[in-house]
């Protein structure tokens, strides 16, 4: 159910642990699966657990515990804005408002064309670059201004 490329990546993660500790790779296996599929359906999670040879519930517990896994479909670009204190002090609210206005959606909503989903995030450990967001859990965009946000959105469009 996952591409050969994803399987290869999971195999690489497995090399980091003792052979009898395949569960340890579940965090990265779910991340790899999500990167391929966009989100984690029950079937995808089951595939990961059977590939690792662990109970479904063990993978499900992990998928539900950690915030960066998506258990519902999201847009092509998921934008997660940090609104925690250091970002708030640098006016992350204005970035959120700008995004609300530009995309016409609030937190946990997706644009009708399926392109963008907006999420609120907790501290990302990059507070020196506030205000900031990251895109699809990978690309960090810091020192945002409304103009810079426009540029990034345009580039994604």
């Amino acid at each position: 159910m996952l591409s050969a490329e994803s399987i290869q990546k999971i195999e690489y993660e497995l090399t980091k642990y003792p052979a009898d500790r395949r569960q340890a790779a579940v965090m990265s296996a779910l991340r790899i699966a999500q990167t391929e599929k966009g989100w984690l359906s029950k079937e995808t999670i089951s595939f990961v657990s059977s590939y690792l040879g662990i109970p479904d519930i063990a993978a499900m517990e992990v998928a539900t515990f950690y915030n960066m896994y998506e258990l519902e479909p999201v847009g092509k670009y998921k934008i997660t804005v940090c609104t925690n204190i250091s970002c708030m002090l640098r006016d992350s609210d204005s970035i959120v408002e700008h995004l609300n206005h530009k995309l016409g959606i609030g937190f946990n909503e997706t644009t009708p064309d399926g392109k963008f989903t907006l999420k609120e995030g907790e501290c990302m450990g990059t507070c020196g670059g506030a205000p900031l967001f990251h895109i699809n859990n990978t690309r960090m965009c810091e020192f945002l201004t409304p103009e810079k946000v426009d540029q990034i959105l345009e580039e994604l469009n």
Binding site: S86, R90, T126, G128
Partner: protein
């Protein structure tokens, strides 16, 4: 990648010593500056583990993850003779608001961390290491993975290093959005592929850690200090700092300053000097308050921090603590009710749910502060907040409960009139006052 930094000439660069170079994170840069020479010396000359621990103890290096536990002492807890694999873990899971120092180590000076971990592994007899990196900083995770590959190819980690019988494998692993995994036993659970719920201690990781094996856990900045200590000696490191606080410290300065960022300075540096390095308060405004070590440390009104020095004793004398050195700076336009509301939401959201006082208490705290911020507060709420906080503190498996209580207690203590004003008038005393 050139580093983003300010006022480097005023800093004392130890853990970020490559940062002034054009390609700070590369292996060539690190080796050019004397990198990996200590590892090579220690392994080829078979320096005794006890001699290394003596130097670390002399250095007065205290854990940079927040608790300030002496690193040399921690290392001496690892069982010396053990049949089987011992593990070494590095905690790069920083996600406590205001903390972003370890990120700069893994992206600008990853090899110093790798060398520090390899020296620790040699000293403690650990065969395998994991660096657990906060999931949100994905690009930096990839930089660290690339540095590991470089180090492996150059023979600084792997089998039979420098032709000796010492082998050490080091891997990067990641979190995926859970602050609690910064707590060392939750982090270990997460490495094992489980929910990040802290374990009861004892047993401590030194006897029951990763996969149930003896494990040493240190913070990124702690490990990255080791090569410098081994090069210059424990005493020299101690002398960079002050009594009880050896060495330099990376301070993450965020919030209302002109130049937010990381600043590495000697322990004992006056707060005012750090503030000046960061360009002072932005927009020509006045300093109102600082959270000096991340929200798990007490907020300090300007008058308390302006005279303080930045070291463990200096900040505790001034009424707070050093924590992870995460300075959240707030100017006089900051509404303390709103700030506390955001922090309380964070702890409520990030409580792992295992202990009732923390799971229920953090929800209570958030709801009461939210009620105040919506103009629905009552005067009794302030005592209620103190009461609920005191009932979380000390009653949970891990310190997240205490961390959630600290901001509430300290905000209400130092800024009570602002909370009272909000309750009486249903609006902020400071916002929109122009």
């Amino acid at each position: 990648m050139t580093a983003l930094a300010h006022n480097l000439e005023k800093q004392t660069l130890v853990t970020l010593r490559t940062i002034t170079e054009p390609h700070p994170g590369s292996l060539d840069t690190y080796v050019k500056l004397g990198g990996y020479a200590q590892l090579k010396r220690i392994v080829t000359e078979k320096v005794k583990a006890t001699d290394i621990i003596t130097q670390i103890k002399l250095s007065n290096l205290r854990g940079r993850g927040g608790a300030g536990f002496p690193t040399g002492l921690k290392w001496s807890f690892m069982p010396r003779y053990y049949d089987g694999t011992k593990y070494l873990v590095c905690n790069t899971d920083e996600g406590e608001p205001g903390t972003f120092k370890d990120r700069d180590i893994i992206r600008y000076n990853p090899h110093q961390l790798i060398e520090g971990m390899a020296i620790a592994a040699y000293t403690l007899g650990a065969r395998v290491g994991y660096n657990y990196i906060h999931g949100e900083i994905w690009e930096d995770y990839e930089i660290f993975e690339a540095a590991l590959a470089e180090a492996r190819a150059a023979g600084y980690i792997g089998e039979n290093l420098f032709g000796s019988n010492f082998s050490f494998d080091l891997h990067a692993v990641h979190g995926y959005g859970a602050y609690i995994c910064g707590e060392e036993t939750a982090l270990i659970e997460s490495i094992e592929g489980k929910k990040g719920q802290p374990r009861f201690k004892p047993p401590f990781p030194a006897s029951f850690g990763v996969f149930g094996k003896p494990t040493n856990v240190n913070n990124t900045e702690s490990y990255a200090s080791i090569p410098w200590i081994m090069q210059h000696g424990g005493e020299a490191f101690q002398n960079l700092g002050v009594y009880n606080s050896g060495g330099t410290k990376l301070f993450s300065v965020s919030g209302h300053v002109v130049n937010p960022g990381n600043y590495e300075v000697r322990m004992g540096t006056p707060f005012t000097e750090l503030l000046e390095m960061a360009g002072g308060i932005w927009k020509g405004r006045e300093l109102k308050a600082v959270i000096p070590g991340g929200p798990s440390t007490a907020v300090m009104p300007a008058k308390n921090i302006l005279g303080a020095t930045l070291d463990y004793d200096g900040l505790s004398k001034a009424g707070s603590s050093l924590g992870a050195g995460s300075m959240i700076v707030m100017d006089d336009s900051t509404c303390m009710v709103k700030a506390l509301k955001r922090l309380s939401y964070f702890f409520f959201e990030e409580s792992c749910g295992q202990c009732t006082p923390c799971r229920e208490g953090t929800g209570w705290l958030y709801r009461v502060i939210k009620r105040i911020s919506e103009g629905q507060g009552r005067m009794e709420d302030l005592d209620l907040l103190t009461d609920v906080s005191s009932n979380i503190s000390g009653r949970t498996i891990c310190a997240l409960g205490d961390a959630a209580a600290t901001p509430v207690l300290s905000f209400v203590k130092h800024f009570r009139p602002e909370f009272e004003y909000y309750i009486q008038h249903g609006r902020s005393m400071v916002e929109n006052r122009e």
